[in-house]
C-alpha cells in the first residue's frame, strides 16, 4: 500500500484466505498451548468425585500411597475438601478428595454437593468413583453426567468384593480398583497421567506460561478471525487495507508479547528483498 507504483503485489487476493487460515491455525495452536502452559505453571487439578461411601477417600489414600513422589499432604485445609500434591509425568498435580461430605441434614448435603460440583468444574480431570459392590445408584449416574464433557477416568471401587454388575454397564473403559489390595491403583495412575498429557504431541512446541501472553495471543487470534470472516463474507472483495487493519491489530497484540515493534522490521525485510523506491 505504501508503494502503489512499483508493480509489486505482495499477496494475491486469492491467497488471502489461505494465508489467514494458516495464521489462524498457528495462533490457535499457541492459544491451546496456553492451557498446557497453565497446567505446567499452576499444576493439574484432579478431583475425585462420587456418591457418599463410593470409596473416594480410600481411593485418594491408595493413589497417594502408590505414588512415592508425594510433595505434600495437607488434610483438612477446608472443612470438606482434602487435597494433596503428587507428580504425574510432566505435571505436578493437586489431587482433591471431595470426601468429608456427610448426610447429616439436607442443607449441609446440598452445600456439599454444591462444593463438590464447583470443584469438578475447576478440575482438569475428574476421577469418578463408583462402588462396584452395590447396584448403580441414580446419584452415580448424576455424578457421571456432571463430569461428562471434560477429561474423566471412571474407577469402579471395592474390586476385592464380589461385583454387583459388570464394569461395561457403566462405561467400556471403566477401571476396576481395590484400595484394600492395591489392585488396579497403578492402572488408574497410568490412565490419569496419560489423559493429562493427551494432545501434547500435536501441540505447539512453544509453551505459553504467562497469563498476560495467553490473553494477548487470544486477542491476536480474534483479530485474525475477524479478518477472515469479513474477507470471506465479502467474497474476497474487501479492500486489502481492511484485512491489513485487522492483521495490524493482531501484530500489535503479538508485539506486546515480544516487545518488538514490527513496522521497521517489516520495512527492513521488504527493502532487503525487493527493489523499491524511486
Amino acid at each position: 500500500m505504501d508503494f502503489p507504483d512499483e508493480g509489486y503485489h505482495f499477496i494475491e487476493p486469492t491467497e488471502v484466505s489461505a494465508a489467514l487460515q494458516a495464521l489462524r491455525a498457528r495462533l490457535a495452536r499457541l492459544v491451546d498451548g496456553r492451557a498446557r502452559g497453565q497446567l505446567v505453571r499452576e499444576g493439574a487439578r484432579i478431583v475425585i468425585a462420587g456418591t457418599p461411601n463410593a470409596g473416594k477417600s480410600s481411593l485418594f489414600n491408595a493413589l497417594l500411597g502408590a505414588d512415592r513422589a508425594i510433595v505434600s499432604a495437607t488434610p483438612g485445609t477446608t472443612r470438606d475438601l482434602v487435597s494433596a500434591r503428587l507428580v504425574l509425568g510432566d505435571y505436578v498435580a493437586e489431587l482433591v478428595d471431595t470426601a468429608g461430605l456427610r448426610e447429616s441434614d439436607d442443607a449441609v448435603e446440598q452445600e456439599g454437593v454444591r462444593r463438590a460440583g464447583q470443584a469438578m468444574g475447576h478440575a482438569h480431570l475428574v476421577i469418578v468413583a463408583i462402588d462396584g459392590s452395590r447396584p448403580v445408584l441414580p446419584g452415580d449416574r448424576a455424578v457421571l453426567a456432571r463430569a461428562a464433557g471434560g477429561r474423566v477416568v471412571i474407577a469402579v471401587t471395592k474390586a476385592d468384593l464380589p461385583a454387583a454388575w459388570p464394569l461395561e454397564d457403566v462405561a467400556r473403559d471403566a477401571l476396576a480398583v481395590s484400595a484394600r489390595t492395591g489392585a488396579g491403583v497403578g492402572d488408574v495412575i497410568t490412565r490419569v497421567t496419560g489423559a493429562l498429557h493427551e494432545g501434547d504431541a500435536s501441540a505447539d512446541h512453544v509453551l505459553v506460561t504467562n497469563q498476560r501472553h495467553g490473553a494477548l495471543l487470544a486477542a491476536a487470534l480474534s483479530h485474525v478471525e475477524h479478518a477472515l470472516a469479513h474477507f470471506e463474507a465479502s467474497g474476497g472483495a474487501l479492500p486489502e487495507e481492511f484485512v491489513a487493519a485487522d492483521v495490524q491489530l493482531a501484530l500489535g497484540a503479538l508485539d506486546e508479547v515480544t516487545g518488538r515493534r514490527t513496522p521497521d522490521g517489516l520495512l527492513h525485510e521488504i527493502f532487503a528483498r525487493f527493489c523499491i523506491g524511486k
Partner: protein, 623 residues
C-alpha cells in the same frame, strides 16, 4: 537591540512553514536564508504528496500551513494514488512547477506582516545557561530572539559528490554551513552522518516523447480527471497541464553502471553516510538486485515553461560522463541531452532523540530543530516538522503552553514520535505502515482531526475556520439525510440510504443520481470520500477507535522529564541508558523504545506509580 519572538534559520520547506506558523500567531519572525532566491526550492523531485506524504500535506493544510495551498496554486498534474484500493488509503499527489511553487511560497512569506527575510549565513547560535538567546551571522551582526528554529537541511557540513569530485556544498552551487555543524557538536549534540541523492536532469526539447510512445518504450501518464486538491481551501478547478512518461531501464544501461561502479563514491568507499533504503540509487538497484532485468523510471517535467525533465528513479553519483552514457543507453533517450548530472550529498544530522515532542531540544530552552537536520527526508516531512516547531516556538515566545500531536491524531504525530523515540539510522520517510491507526489517519479527514486544534493554537485564520465549519456542517447534514431517506433497491425493497451505501458496489454518486437529496453545497472532491468511508467502514473505524482508547491510559501516564532511572531495581545498564537517551514523556512512548521488553515497561510503570504515591504534593499539581 529589539528582541524578536522567533528566528528561523533556513528557507527550505521546514523553515518556511516554521516562519509562517509562528507569524500566524502574531509573533515577530526573522527568517535567515543564504539567498532569498532559493526559498522553498525543490532540489529533488518536482512533486508533493504520495502515500503517507499526501495525508501529511492535508494535515499541514488543516493546521493552516502553506504546502497544500502552494501546490494547488502551482501544481501541473494531480493524481490520487492507491485508487485501486479503498478510500481510506487514497493519497493525493501533484507534480509541481518548481519555480512557480517556490515563487508562490516566497510571495506568501513576503506578504506576511510578521516575517522579515534576512539574507546571510548564520555562523553560530548564541546560547547561555541552557537557553538560546539568538544567532550571530557571519558578517558579525547578531539577532536576539526568544526562540530559534534550526532548519538547515543538508547544509550542515554538506559534501556533494559527483563521481570522483567531492566538494563542500549544501546543494549543488550553494555553500555548506560548517560553523553551525561544528558548534552543535561542541554543544554536545549527538551528530551523525547521512547521505541522499538526486538524478540527472535532461533537456525536455532534446527528447522525442511521441516517438518514444510510438515505439512502445514510453507510456504516457495522465493526471486524474477531475483533479483532487491537496488543500481543503481550494475550490477553483485544478488543471492538469502536463503529462509524465513511464519507461523501463535496459540491460545496456545496467552494463554501463556495472562497468564503472568503481568510480561511484557509493561503491569505492568515499561516501560513509547512510542512504535511504526506500530510495536506492541507481547504482544500488543495479548492483544489489542483479536479477532484475529492468527498473521502473519516470520522466517528470520540472515545470510548464522549463526545459528540464527529472528522471525519477535514476538517482546517481557516478561521474558525469558515465551518467551521460547511462542516460543515452536508456530506451528512447539515445539523443537526450543531460543538463546536469545527478549527485549524492552527505550531511550532518542531529539524533532526534535529543528532542521533545514539540521539537524543542532538551539541551537548550527555546532551541527547536526541524526537517532534514532531524534525519528525515522529503519536503512533506520537513514541512510538517517545520509547522510543529513553528507553532511551538511561537507559543513559547508568547508564554503559552506547548502543543503536542499524538500518533492517533495525525501522521505528524507518528513522525515526531518515531523520531524522538527511535532516533534515525537512515533518512526517515513516512510510510502509512508506520501508523497504528491507518484507517483513522486519512487524507479526507485531516481537517476533522486537526483544524480545531489549529484554531486553538492560533494558526487557523478566519477564512479557514469558516470553511471548516461549513464543511463540518455539510457532513453532518448529509449524514442526517442519508440516515433518514429511504432508497428503493432494484428488488423494489426499501432501505435507508445509509444502509444501501454500506454495500460495496453502491457509491454516494450513484445514490445522488438515484435521487437521494444531498445538499447542493456538498463537495464531491472532499466530502464524498469522508461520507462514504465513515459509512462503509464504520465497524472498522470503531475497532480502531477502541484500540486508541485502550492505549490512551499509557499514552496519558506522564513521566517527569527529570525522573531518575539510575538505581531503580530491576533495570539493566543498557535499559537505563536507552531511557536516559530518549527521556520519554509518557509511558506510551516507553513502550515504543526499541529494545525495551514489556517486562521492563511494566516494571517502570510500577516504579512510576510508587513514585507518584510517595509524592506528598497536593494531587493534580503536575496536571
Amino acid at each position: 537591540m529589539t528582541k524578536l519572538d522567533v528566528i528561523v534559520i533556513g528557507g527550505g520547506h521546514a523553515g518556511c512553514e516554521a516562519a509562517w506558523a509562528a507569524a500566524k500567531q502574531g509573533c515577530s519572525v526573522v527568517l535567515c536564508t543564504l539567498s532569498s532566491s532559493t526559498i522553498a526550492s525543490m532540489p529533488c523531485n518536482p512533486a508533493v504528496g504520495g502515500t503517507a506524504k499526501g495525508q501529511l500535506v492535508r494535515e499541514i493544510d488543516a493546521l493552516g500551513g502553506l504546502m497544500g495551498l502552494a501546490i494547488d496554486a502551482t501544481g501541473i498534474q494531480f493524481k490520487v494514488l492507491n485508487r485501486s484500493r479503498g478510500p481510506a488509503v487514497w493519497a493525493p499527489r501533484a507534480q509541481a512547477d518548481k519555480q512557480r511553487y517556490a515563487a508562490w511560497v516566497r510571495a506568501a512569506l513576503k506578504a506576511s506582516p510578521g516575517i522579515t527575510i534576512v539574507e546571510g549565513q548564520v555562523a553560530r547560535l548564541i546560547v547561555a545557561c541552557g537557553q538560546v538567546l539568538g544567532v550571530a551571522l557571519l558578517d558579525g551582526s547578531e539577532l536576539r530572539a526568544k526562540a530559534v528554529v534550526v532548519t538547515t537541511g543538508t547544509f550542515l557540513n554538506g559534501v556533494v559528490h559527483v563521481g570522483d569530485v567531492a566538494r563542500p556544498a549544501g546543494r549543488v552551487g550553494e555553500p555548506a554551513s560548517e560553523h553551525l555543524g561544528e558548534q552543535l557538536r561542541k554543544l554536545g549534540f549527538r551528530v551523525g552522518r547521512l547521505k541522499t541523492g538526486t538524478p540527472p536532469r535532461l533537456s525536455k526539447t532534446s527528447i522525442d516523447f511521441d516517438a518514444g510512445v510510438r515505439a512502445g518504450v514510453f507510456h504516457v501518464e495522465h493526471g486524474d480527471d477531475p483533479p483532487t486538491p491537496l488543500s481543503f481551501l481550494t475550490v477553483n478547478r485544478l488543471a492538469n497541464s502536463v503529462s509524465c512518461w513511464l519507461l523501463h531501464s535496459s540491460d545496456r544501461a545496467h552494463e554501463a553502471v556495472r562497468a564503472n561502479v568503481s568510480r561511484s563514491p557509493l561503491y569505492n568507499g568515499t561516501i560513509r553516510g547512510i542512504g535511504p533504503r526506500y530510495c536506492p540509487s541507481f547504482e544500488d538497484k543495479v548492483m544489489r538486485f542483479p536479477d532484475r532485468e529492468r527498473h521502473l523510471l519516470h520522466l517528470e517535467p520540472e515545470g510548464v515553461d522549463v526545459d528540464e525533465i527529472y528522471v525519477n528513479g535514476l538517482s546517481m553519483s557516478l561521474p558525469a560522463d558515465v551518467q551521460a552514457e547511462v542516460v543515452a543507453s536508456l530506451p528512447g533517450l539515445a539523443s537526450a541531452r543531460m543538463i546536469r548530472p545527478g549527485y549524492a550529498v552527505e550531511y550532518d544530522f542531529v539524533q532526534p532523540t535529543e528532542l521533545r515532542a514539540t521539537l524543542e531540544t532538551r539541551r537548550f530552552e527555546g532551541l527547536f530543530l526541524a526537517g532534514q537536520i532531524n534525519g528525515t527526508s522529503g519536503y512533506e516531512e520537513a514541512a510538517g516538522q517545520g509547522l510543529i516547531a513553528g507553532i511551538n516556538a511561537g507559543r513559547q515566545a508568547l508564554g503559552l503552553e506547548a502543543v503536542v500531536i499524538g500518533r492517533d491524531a495525525a501522521y505528524l504525530g507518528v513522525m515526531v514520535d518515531d523520531l524522538i523515540t527511535q532516533g534515525c539510522l537512515e533518512p526517515y520517510r513516512l510510510f502509512t505502515s508506520r501508523a497504528e491507526f491507518r484507517l483513522l489517519l486519512r487524507a479526507d479527514n485531516a481537517d476533522l482531526r486537526l483544524t480545531e486544534l489549529g484554531r486553538t493554537a492560533g494558526v487557523v485564520d478566519d477564512e479557514r475556520w469558516d470553511a471548516f465549519l461549513s464543511r463540518r456542517g455539510r457532513l453532518e447534514e448529509n449524514t442526517r439525510r442519508l440516515q433518514t431517506t429511504t432508497f428503493v433497491l432494484p428488488s423494489s425493497s426499501r432501505v435507508l440510504a445509509v444502509d444501501a451505501l454500506k454495500t460495496q458496489s453502491v457509491t454516494l454518486q450513484s445514490l445522488q443520481k438515484a435521487g437521494i437529496p444531498l445538499t447542493p453545497s456538498v463537495r464531491p472532491d472532499v466530502d464524498f470520500t469522508t461520507l462514504e468511508t465513515e459509512v462503509k467502514y464504520a465497524g472498522y473505524l470503531r475497532r480502531q477507535d477502541a484500540s486508541v482508547r485502550r492505549l490512551a491510559q499509557a499514552e496519558h501516564q506522564r513521566i517527569p522529564e527529570e525522573f531518575c532511572y539510575r538505581g531503580l531495581p530491576g533495570f539493566s545498564t543498557e535499559v537505563v541508558q536507552r531511557l536516559e537517551e530518549v527521556r520519554p514523556a509518557t509511558l506510551g512512548q516507553v513502550r515504543r523504545i526499541p529494545g525495551l521488553t514489556p517486562a521492563a515497561v511494566m516494571l517502570l510503570s510500577a516504579h512510576l506509580s510508587r513514585a507518584a504515591h510517595l509524592k506528598t504534593e497536593p494531587a493534580g499539581a503536575d496536571l
